[in-house]
């Protein structure tokens, strides 16, 4: 297998390029014969669009699935999860069990969400049930916290009502799609500040589902103390944890960048809340990631040329329940601090080791089962093939128990480090 891997990218980030160069790969342009293309999401749209008629050959790999937006667009993610839950309910799966208030016991991990303007009336009905609640408006297709705002009055979103008379100057089709979710106004606070959790998940195939979780995620803290007070609803420094927003705050510090490692978080929670609830929390986080992937797996175009590294954003509320906020197809590769750079460099390094085995020219027909030694800082999160080998109903049985606490069975290949209790 002579010849070096030829790579292209349209994202000029040093953490990427340094990784390619250190493998001795050769940079080419997209018009030439390439083996590995790290694309932006715009490019993947073009590559796989019907008009392009692009056919990838066996020795070409790209870093996105063609219809990743099923997971990474806020509205589609919610749609898919809702559909998945209904399907499970219909087949009578114990996973879809509900409690006496009609809330899913195991699948309630996305805050109540509606699409606007499509579900406007449904939303109004829900809003009126608890009129003192706060809701968060997010544009479907944007990132980095752009365009997000909080509301607590219907008048603030009149524009999105379907038959609104005031929006006559804007035609229906130009109205940008938004999602509106119940705002988690009781986030878990540390040092009085709100934070969210960024975790990296690599998916090498959807059917069978095989995904890896990067051990070194991080928390992003707001620079301003949290307050649910209505007078501060407009203060994005209180509510939005995106670094793109926080770095413009007065108190932003470039040394630590307002970030904590996940292991710090774990140490803090174990020390102040106890080991059981902390383990339960992390178990639940792993659970919701896997469930979200399972939800989109049936509709995902499981193109064998593709892999994808997602940035999962979770918020933990003050009862230590994790909520899935969104999934990013193109998690930022910009480094805000020195530690950040090291982390992202290693992330790409480990990702490439898994996606492009041995750093050689890929053959997309391979079985996508890398040996344990190359995982680096990744851990197997869920391997459908392995799980099915163990008996798929074991998963259901252990979920049917009470909580995620008791260690149902240890994963065979990782002696002690068990990422989930419900393999």
């Amino acid at each position: 297998m002579a010849g070096k891997v030829k790579w292209v990218t349209d994202i000029e980030k040093s953490v990427l390029i340094n990784n390619f160069e250190k493998r001795g790969w050769v940079q080419v342009t997209e018009n030439e014969d390439w083996n590995f293309y790290w694309m932006s999401v715009q490019t993947i749209r073009n590559v796989f669009s019907v008009e392009a008629g692009y056919r990838l050959s066996d020795d070409q790999i790209v870093n996105h699935f063609p219809n990743h937006y099923e997971l990474t667009r806020k509205d589609l993610m919610v749609k898919n999860i809702k559909r998945y839950r209904k399907e499970l309910e219909k087949e009578g799966s114990p996973l879809a069990e509900k409690d006496e208030n009609g809330k899913y016991l195991y699948l309630d991990f996305v805050p109540v969400t509606y699409m606007l303007p499509a579900d406007y009336n449904l939303f109004v009905e829900e809003f009126r049930k608890s009129p003192s609640s706060t809701w968060i408006m997010k544009p479907c297709g944007k990132a980095q916290g752009k365009g997000i705002f909080l509301i607590n009055k219907l008048s603030q979103i009149k524009k999105w009502s379907r038959d609104s008379k005031t929006s006559s100057f804007v035609s229906q089709s130009n109205k940008e799609a938004y999602v509106i979710s119940l705002y988690i106004n009781n986030p878990s606070l540390i040092g009085g500040r709100k934070f969210d959790l960024r975790l990296y998940v690599l998916v090498s195939t959807y059917r069978p589902l095989r995904c890896y979780m990067y051990k070194l995620g991080f928390c992003r803290f707001c620079t301003v103390k949290y307050t649910p007070s209505t007078s501060e609803l407009d203060n994005m420094f209180v509510h939005l944890t995106n670094v793109a927003i926080q770095k413009h705050g007065e108190d932003y510090n470039h040394i630590h960048g307002g970030k904590w490692t996940v292991s710090n978080l774990r140490l803090y929670l174990e020390s102040t809340r106890g080991k059981e609830v902390t383990s339960k929390l992390f178990d639940e986080i792993h659970w919701i990631i896997v469930q979200s992937l399972k939800a989109v797996a049936p509709v995902m175009n499981n193109d064998k040329h593709c892999f994808e590294c997602y940035g999962y954003d979770t918020i933990i509320d003050d009862k230590l329940k994790p909520w899935l906020i969104e999934v990013n197809a193109s998690p930022s590769l910009t480094s805000s601090t020195a530690n950040d750079r090291i982390l992202k460099y290693n992330l790409i390094n480990d990702t490439l080791n898994i996606a492009v085995p041995n750093g050689e020219i890929p053959d997309c027909k391979w079985n996508k089962s890398p040996p344990k030694e190359v995982l680096g800082n990744y851990e197997i999160l869920y391997d459908e093939e392995l799980a099915q080998g163990d008996g798929a109903d074991r998963e259901l049985r252990s979920r049917q128990g009470q909580s995620l606490g008791p260690r149902a069975g240890r994963s065979r290949d990782s002696g002690r480090a068990v990422l989930t209790t419900w393999k």
């Binding site: 040092g191 510090n253 904590w260 803090y268 080991k275 002690r416």
Partner: protein, 523 residues
């Protein structure tokens, strides 16, 4: 025998005296009175019955813990004719050195005061008080102009003082021999060698389970960890907890265990006391407050682990400065609280006040003593109590000149002696290139490694400080770090290069390092 007995009865009398004034005493009294209602208490055997009741209800254990706590802190019995200064520090030359160091610090503080025309203390106007009260939970966002303030001193200034310490009664002659100490510290204090350290730290031995080693992912938890956790959960006894924690504390139990060992229980009176200190902070502004602000901004705010807790640090340290109960520890601290006089009454004792009220002037890095504790306690008054107790038991020894085995002078000497005796080649090499090892390790020891190690490792280290009631482990760890990086250090040719090799300790695992250095190195 007779001497020991009378020493013992003296100690007992002193402890009883101390505890009589405590809250525990009144609680026990109340309990005793209340117990008279109980059917099992009979008049004929009143004393025994009440004692039995105390034992069963757990009050005896509380009393035991309190006594144990006093014993831990209580200085060793000295000659009945010894004056109080001897309790602080028996050696005259050390006392003198500490005295002149203090004069220097105070001079520096006063001159800063005069230069900036800021009073040492002033009462806040009502408007300012209100503002501060509103901002109490986010003082970190207050950005007063601190550019003109400088820390009163930094660890390296203190090191220079220690280097110049000499015992005037000691003459070691001019000729160099293999016994000559080649390090920076030139005072003859007794320090332990490795065989003695092995005896002292026997629970860190290779054949004994440790948290920090035997809870790593490769080791099945059934071998050690599970049982250790189970034992820890049942612990109610200070002395037993202290013994237990020598093998490390499980993260989930650490907060409770430390509180048990330090004998801290958050009673309503303690919360009230803390609130009272908070009120003092609101009402009066002290110059040291600005020093504290500056220190936090320079150190903890920039730290990857502790930046989150910035506001807690102010809440603890500002109150700490006003806490006069801290003054009592000066009875066994070689340092003395700086005295200041009301304006115009210089020299008149009736007008003397201690400044700051707790007698402790913070230096650069002081806030790092508090920062790691924020990982364990998030309730301000409990955090405060734990820190205060840690300070009066341990931390004060790291910045006062004394001959105590846990004092910084002894730690420095212990470090240098260990290095010179067991890593002579490395020590000699570093000395030759002008990189005396103490110049690098001093700052680690003064801060008890806070800010240099990863937090989980630091907490494992502090577990052992509590467990052995001694700071000697800091010197041993410092030597172990040098031993670990010896190969790289042998290749450097300057102090700066040596500093670079030892700049980043955040990936070190302390327990394996300590174990290897003490028990697995061929000596």
């Amino acid at each position: 025998m007779l001497q020991e007995e009378s020493d013992l009865s003296l100690i007992i009398a002193q402890i009883v005296q101390k505890l009589k004034g405590s809250n525990l005493y009144s609680q026990l009294e109340r309990q005793a009175w209340a117990s008279l209602q109980r059917p099992e208490i009979k008049l004929e055997s009143l004393k025994e019955d009440i004692k039995e009741f105390f034992k069963i209800s757990g009050w005896e254990k509380k009393l035991q813990n309190a006594v144990y706590s006093e014993l831990s802190v209580f200085p060793l019995p000295s000659h009945p004719a010894a004056p109080p200064e001897h309790l602080k520090e028996p050696l005259v030359y050390m006392r003198k050195a500490q005295g002149s160091w203090e004069k220097r610090i105070l001079k520096s503080l006063n001159s800063m005061c005069t230069e900036l025309s800021i009073p040492l203390a002033r009462k806040r106007p009502v408007g300012e008080q209100k503002e501060l009260l509103n901002k109490w939970n986010e003082m970190g966002t207050d950005e007063p102009d601190l550019s003109l303030f400088r820390p009163v001193y930094a660890p390296k200034d203190f090191l220079e003082v220690l280097i110049n310490l000499r015992n005037p009664n000691y003459e070691n002659g001019d000729s160099l021999s293999f016994r000559t100490h080649l390090g920076l510290i030139q005072v003859p204090l007794k320090v332990k060698d490795i065989p003695e350290l092995k005896e002292c730290f026997v629970e860190l031995g290779l054949n004994i389970g440790q948290l920090g080693i035997d809870d790593s992912t490769q080791v099945p938890p059934e071998l050690f960890e599970n049982e250790h956790v189970r034992i820890g959960q049942k612990e109610q006894d200070s002395a037993a907890a202290q013994q237990y924690i020598r093998q490390g504390s499980p993260t989930a139990l650490r907060a409770e265990l430390w509180a048990l060992i330090l004998n801290i229980s958050s009673q309503p009176e303690d919360v009230l006391y803390y609130e009272q200190l908070k009120t003092n902070v609101i009402q009066h502004d002290l110059l040291v407050d600005s020093l504290i602000y500056k220190d936090v901004k320079l150190t903890a705010s920039n730290d990857d682990y502790y930046f989150v807790f910035e506001d807690y640090l102010y809440q603890v340290l500002l109150c700490f400065s006003r806490d006069t109960s801290v003054l009592s520890h000066f009875a066994f601290n070689s340092a003395s609280p700086p005295k200041s006089y009301i304006r115009g009454k210089l020299g008149l004792e009736e007008y003397a006040v201690f400044y700051p009220p707790n007698g402790v002037i913070p230096f650069h890095g002081f806030s790092m003593y508090v920062a790691p504790l924020c990982f364990l306690y998030h309730e301000p008054s409990k955090l405060y109590q734990i820190f205060r107790e840690m300070y009066v038991r341990f931390f004060f020894r790291l910045h006062s000149i004394s001959s105590h085995p846990s004092g910084i002078v002894s730690l420095c000497l212990l470090f240098e002696t260990l290095l010179q005796t067991y890593l002579p080649q490395l020590f000699y090499h570093l000395r030759e290139i002008g990189a005396q090892p103490l110049r690098i390790s001093f700052k680690w020891m003064v801060r008890a490694f806070s800010g240099y190690l990863a937090t989980d490792q630091l907490l494992l280290l502090w577990d052992r400080i509590l467990g052995y009631n001694s700071l000697e482990i800091l010197a041993v760890l410092a030597a172990a770090v040098f031993a670990f990086r010896a190969v790289n250090l042998m290749e450097v040719t300057s102090l700066a290069a040596a500093e670079a090799v030892l700049a980043d300790l955040s990936t070190l695992k302390v327990m394996p390092l300590l174990q290897i250095f003490l028990f697995a190195t061929v000596t």
